[in-house]
Symmetry: C2
Subunit: 405 residues, 2 copies
């Protein structure tokens, strides 16, 4: 029988009524003749509440114990979902990450999946049961409970779909799919029927919030078709699949934006090999996730280096950069929390020159200044003032013919 | 190094402040040169809240999933306690029932401990760490999560103390020990310094609420000294130990009472062998826990049988007894929810005749009618009207010289 993995996020199992609605849908899928493995997140804001409790109790919060704490959340949602399924006559059985055989490394709070054993899931499926698996969690070789970090439940779902050779992995969420832009900013944004893994990676990396980058990478590497859809309307959503020749290649597939970053510029960096490496090694050692990096051709023996970091890491980053600047005889360190990124993503860019020119012209026509530019083969990103980013998204969405009717 | 097991109940870890207070105490115990294994319950009313959530979601609530749900509670408290201990520089590490090697049978929601492996606890102790273990939970041979039922955390603590050969098991609660009577009813009740296992068994069985019968039985069978004490005042409490010659044997150690039962009388039961057996087998098959049973000598070929059952099982029991009475040609089935039990417990009763006479006289002087009587070698129990039971407890406490100053 064809197998599908269905993953339900926190809002999809937010209360008793939502859990019963999810159970209805799983039961319906079974009646349509499919085997189902379910992956659930913790209910609603449970994880945030547990983190607040931890802050109330402790200043140190050892990561191993944080993982023990947070993994209580999925136990609740998966047990309740199994109960709701039992009410509908569906024989469901819950499994923790450990019981499901999700083996990870020992990096607590951000563990990586090393292996999916899944024997108990295969047994349950063979017995005609529906396994309901805790997302976000696994077990290390030391038999300690681990969590996979942000977006971990999506990663669990994709990893199980790969290990169990599911036909697809359905990611249920509170939106109806992946859109050409954020519909809250662009009312005429359209839902995409299909996007390629490569486009989805760029969309996720440049601010699209529906899927976490890591789960898309995992799906691409393991050839797992994803179907992003709503657990409120249950309508078909967006398929994320391998790129193929027959796929219509829109020049631009989506306009994304990201307001979570800040910009740092180090001026007057002496033009000697290895200085940039020292700067970014220092930041990496403190787990600062540097995103865009722009360095201009040097001028009179010095150059300016600009880069963006998550805004929450701005103070730390300025401090580290400042210390290094003094040490190497660079100039000032300038911090700017008022920026945002706007990006165009589209596999068609590869074969259509001139996209960037149109993008820059569109922004210029709106009077929006571009502060940094970076590109990949299927993406162009510009840094602009944060208070102009919505205007930028709207203008680009129209300019590239993405507006729906 | 001497090892002590310290168990903290739900009120003892009820909020962030309480958890930090418990951490302080554990750290203090360590500084005094003792190894410590901690056992915790879920915080405050967590278990009740989870049960309510389950009722909101489902009518069936399969026991396996109930156990998965409820075991989330201890994960939270044990992880938080480990964090609080880390703040104090104590290297603590949490273990689920499964990780601690608490192997149970497969009777979900009321599992029995079959074996305590405890290898990971021994390793942690050898490394100078404080293991913090989830009470109330274990794992079956099928690798499913189980719970131990009411009072399960006490049982976990005692089982660990036995397996790890601890010097004692400290049960921390919201009262300062075991009293000669319920202090809410008898203000002059005194805290007992020591009681024997046998007395404690009778106290627990006859209405004393501090320790659950099952954990006392386990402690007696495995020779684990218990120390019942307060997690609010931290003062020394009541030791529950082996009876020894040197122990001062008060004639009466405590007066207990129990208002949770109801009485059923089946009149005119034909005096034939096997009828009482059929009655109580029928009740046992429906898991009704029959407590006192009184049958008088038969009179003119029939007899009356009276017994007490938990009040929640009264309707079921009357129905079952009624059907059987019709079948065997007995008389009426009378139900009475207005009764209570009052008991005297004391190891000294064995060598002091006349205690029951004094008890009956005391009750008679108070104008309290005795409806049923049952005795063991160290306990006498009378059934009286429920609205007179507090008066009975007070009078007996005074009559047997238990009043403190």
């Amino acid at each position: 029988m064809a197998l599908v993995v269905q993953k339900f996020g926190g809002t999809s199992v937010g209360d008793a009524e939502r859990i019963r609605a999810v159970a209805d849908h799983v039961a319906r899928t079974r009646r349509q003749g499919q085997d189902v493995v379910v992956v659930v997140s913790a209910m609603g804001k449970t994880t945030d509440e547990l983190l607040r409790l931890a802050s109330d109790v402790s200043g140190t919060r050892p990561p191993r114990e944080l993982d023990m704490l947070l993994t209580s959340g999925e136990r609740v949602s998966m047990a309740l979902l199994c109960m709701a399924l039992a009410d509908l006559g569906v024989d469901a059985v819950s499994f923790t990450g450990s019981q499901a055989g999700i083996i990870t490394d020992s990096a607590h709070t951000r563990a990586k999946i090393l292996e999916v054993r899944g024997d108990r899931l295969r047994e349950a499926l063979a017995e005609g049961r529906v396994p309901v698996v805790a997302g976000f969690q696994g077990v290390s070789a030391d038999r300690d409970v681990t969590t996979l970090g942000r977006g971990g439940s999506d990663t669990t779902a994709v990893a199980l779909a790969a290990a169990l050779e599911a036909e697809s992995c359905e990611i249920y969420t509170d939106v109806t799919g992946v859109f050409t832009a954020d519909p809250r900013i662009v009312p005429k944004a359209r839902r995409l029927g299909r996007v390629s893994f490569e486009e989805m990676l760029e969309i996720s990396a440049s601010g699209g919030r529906v899927l976490v980058l890591r789960s898309v990478e995992f799906a691409r590497n393991h050839h797992v078709p994803l179907h992003v859809r709503s657990s409120f309307t249950w309508e078909p959503g967006t398929w994320v699949v391998e790129e193929d020749e027959s796929m219509e290649q829109a020049v631009v597939t989506a306009v994304t934006h990201d307001t979570s970053e800040a910009k740092i510029t180090v001026t007057g960096v002496p033009d000697r090999p290895g200085l940039a490496a020292r700067l970014f090694r220092t930041l990496a050692d403190r787990s600062v996730n540097v995103d865009m990096i722009v360095q201009n051709t040097s001028h009179e023996g010095t150059t300016d280096i600009s880069f963006t970091v998550p805004r929450v890491d701005l103070d730390t980053s300025v401090q580290l950069a400042g210390a290094l600047a003094t040490e190497i005889g660079a100039g000032e360190v300038l911090a700017d929390a008022g920026i945002a990124k706007v990006s165009l993503v589209g596999a068609g860019m590869r074969s259509h020159p001139g996209i960037s020119a149109t993008m820059f012209e569109t922004l210029a026509d709106e009077g929006i200044n571009i502060e940094m530019i970076s590109t990949s083969s299927i993406r162009i990103t510009c840094v602009v003032r944060a208070d102009l980013v919505e205007q930028a998204v709207q203008a680009l969405h129209t300019a590239f013919g993405l507006d729906g009717t």
